[in-house]
């Protein structure tokens, strides 16, 4: 047993001497959290729009004032003719154009009916829809003011409550995702590269002639990454709590325990890849393309699983990261206990055991050669 720990210490020294890698391993989750937390936002605001005002009268000026005052829009272009609309969209300068027809006030006061035109760039359908909705509500508000205090009869009001995340903070959805991604990346990529590097350099033979059992040699390589990943979980949680105000509503120990379970799963994945890869490049590509990219795409972190075609949804069920992502969301954001996530935990546990046993077995066979 003492031999095992000496090997672990050796691996630690290897890692600690590589300052650049260490910097990235610790820096990546921090950078991601900071970027996601402060720079990225799905909120629609300060969207650049253009105004084409054929009327130029009282009402259009009032509406333009309202629009200018709104934080959702930023008027960057004032056009003078219809033909300019297409050109200004093509330059990518605006996302929405609003056209006021000529004789606006006259028509409104005499015929009580006018039509404004909103042209929105539907390249990004969600943003297009949202912009039209926001603009419509500004216009509707103004219209209600014109009507005065005549309340429209038969009004159905809706009281909308946002549960778990009343401020609609995007952070609630991505912090669990960043955690899953970073853990998977570090554990699988680094482990597989570490093991394959020894194979490639030829130093594996030296390790194998040592009195320590071959499988223990491999496992000793994974222990430092387990500790590193655990430190990363803690730094992610600390950052989210203090900098982003994302609380851990549920049981912290449960969360950490699930984290360790997932780390072991990722380490096993890394070991598995390293047992089939012969060169470092192969290990890197195998991990990135075979593990990391599918995780990024199909685990529900970036794109909603419900929207995917059925075969891809099945694929997402095979990924351990999908289950971990759901578990973390349930504990952190919804504050649920073990009773709610026992099913997912069981699945993750099963996957971890299977992967671990398969990787160890494979190594036994390969290294014996």
């Amino acid at each position: 047993m003492k031999q095992f720990w000496i090997f672990v210490k050796k691996e630690w020294l290897h890692i600690l001497r590589d300052r650049r890698t260490l910097l990235i391993l610790f820096g990546m989750p921090i950078a991601q959290i900071l970027i996601f937390g402060f720079a990225l936002s799905n909120e629609v605001k300060n969207s650049k729009i253009a105004i084409l005002d054929h009327a130029g009268d009282d009402i259009s000026h009032k509406l333009i004032e309202r629009i200018e005052a709104s934080k959702y829009f930023e008027i960057t272009k004032v056009l003078s003719s219809d033909s300019e609309i297409d050109a200004v969209f093509k330059q990518g300068a605006i996302r929405l154009a609003i056209v006021f027809p000529a004789n606006l006030s006259a028509d409104l006061y005499h015929q009580n009916d006018v039509q404004l035109q909103l042209i929105s760039d539907a390249s990004d359908p969600n943003v297009g829809t949202t912009l039209v909705n926001y603009m419509s509500s500004i216009i509707n508000d103004y219209q209600n003011e014109l009507i005065g205090f005549n309340k429209l009869p038969f009004t159905i009001k809706a009281e909308v409550r946002m549960i778990y995340n009343p401020q609609l903070k995007a952070a609630y959805n991505f912090v669990p995702g960043v955690m899953a991604m970073v853990l998977l990346l570090i554990c699988s990529l680094m482990t597989s590269i570490a093991i394959v590097r020894e194979k490639e350099m030829g130093t594996m033979e030296v390790l194998l002639v040592s009195p320590l059992k071959p499988t223990l040699v491999i496992i000793s390589k994974t222990i430092p990454y387990l500790v590193l990943s655990f430190i990363n979980i803690c730094s992610i949680l600390l950052l989210s709590y203090f900098v982003l105000d994302v609380p851990v509503k549920g049981n912290l120990f449960l969360l950490l325990a699930e984290g360790i379970l997932f780390i072991i799963a990722s380490l096993s994945l890394g070991m598995f890849v390293s047992s089939i890869a012969a060169t470092q490049t192969a290990a890197m590509f195998g991990t990135l393309v075979g593990l990391f990219m599918p995780t990024l795409m199909f685990s529900g972190f970036m794109f909603p699983v419900d929207n995917m075609p059925i075969p891809l949804q099945w694929l997402s069920n095979i990924l351990p990261s999908k289950w971990f992502f759901n578990i973390v969301k349930a504990i952190m954001i919804k504050g649920l206990g073990f009773s709610a996530i026992w099913k997912e935990t069981l699945i993750l546990f099963g996957m971890t055991c299977t992967l671990f046993i398969i990787s160890i077995r494979k190594f036994d066979k390969r290294l014996a050669l």
């Binding site: 890698t21 969207s47 093509k90 909103l118 159905i156 995917m308």
Partner: protein
Amino acid sequence: MPVIQLILLPLAANYEVRNIQLSIVDHDHSGYARALIQKITASGYFKLNSYVDSYKEGLKRMEHDHVDIILEIPADFEKTLIRENESTLSASINAVNGQRASLGAQYLLAILRDFNREIRLKWVQFPKFNPMPIIQIDHSFWYNPMMNYKHFMVPGILVILLTMVGANMSALNLVREKELGTIEQINVSPIKKHHFIIGKLIPFWIMGQVVLTLGLLVARLIYGIIPAGSIFSIYLFSSAYLLCILGLGLLISTYANTQQQAMLISFFVMMVFILLSGLYTSIDSMPQWAQWVTKINPITYFVQVMRLVIMKGSGLKDILPHLVSILGMAVVIIPWAVWNYRKRS
């Protein structure tokens, strides 16, 4: 390999909000309540998941992620509406995913407004001459009338593909030579530094263009995306862009000693750039400092150009400022890489 990603990724990359699971707590069971429920489910955005007897039950289902929205219709909904001219519904939305919740709320409220208007029309006879001023809004969606998310994501994904392939390959290439030791042979040869670097750039540049072509073909064949603008502008810009990206990869490789470091550094840099490029979230919603970063980020420009040319049919004139910026960056990065590469260290 990039081709497989290009095929699979747009299938997954769908931010459309639909299949919103709705759970109804109906205390009223009146005609209006049923009509409203029918209208909501007929919209196509919502799926009726369950009728529950109480809000608590609905909440339990929400905890297990089976339900996205719980709509509660109070008792005497129809009677209150007719007698007191006003009635209130309550909608509770699972907001873990803020964007999905916000769009779900917007859809629900829009359907409700429509339903409200229908009821008003039935009861209130508006005289022919409308006493209340009404501003109607006519909205049109340009450039993507089918509101197809794939058309929006595919150009962006092409950019990512090209970037990852380009940067990783060029970064790894030089470092592998360093690790294996074959770099010494090159260092003792009389070849000039810049010839050496350019020699490394050219094959990857060609490969990048080939990947781009493959990508455009896949987009055309599988997704039916035909660039509305000129393909020549795409290739012109990609030539400059590849210079920039490959240069970046080379720059990274001059700072790394092992393949592992090169891969990690390039991965990290690419990830930061991709996130801050306006690909997934719009640049307008970023704070000032992030917007400055996007200005020095080559990916930003390429994503904009791809979207402009493919979806809107922009021309050479429109992308000229982007082209100039990219060339400017390449002019800085490549000499830096050459300068940093030391033959004798």
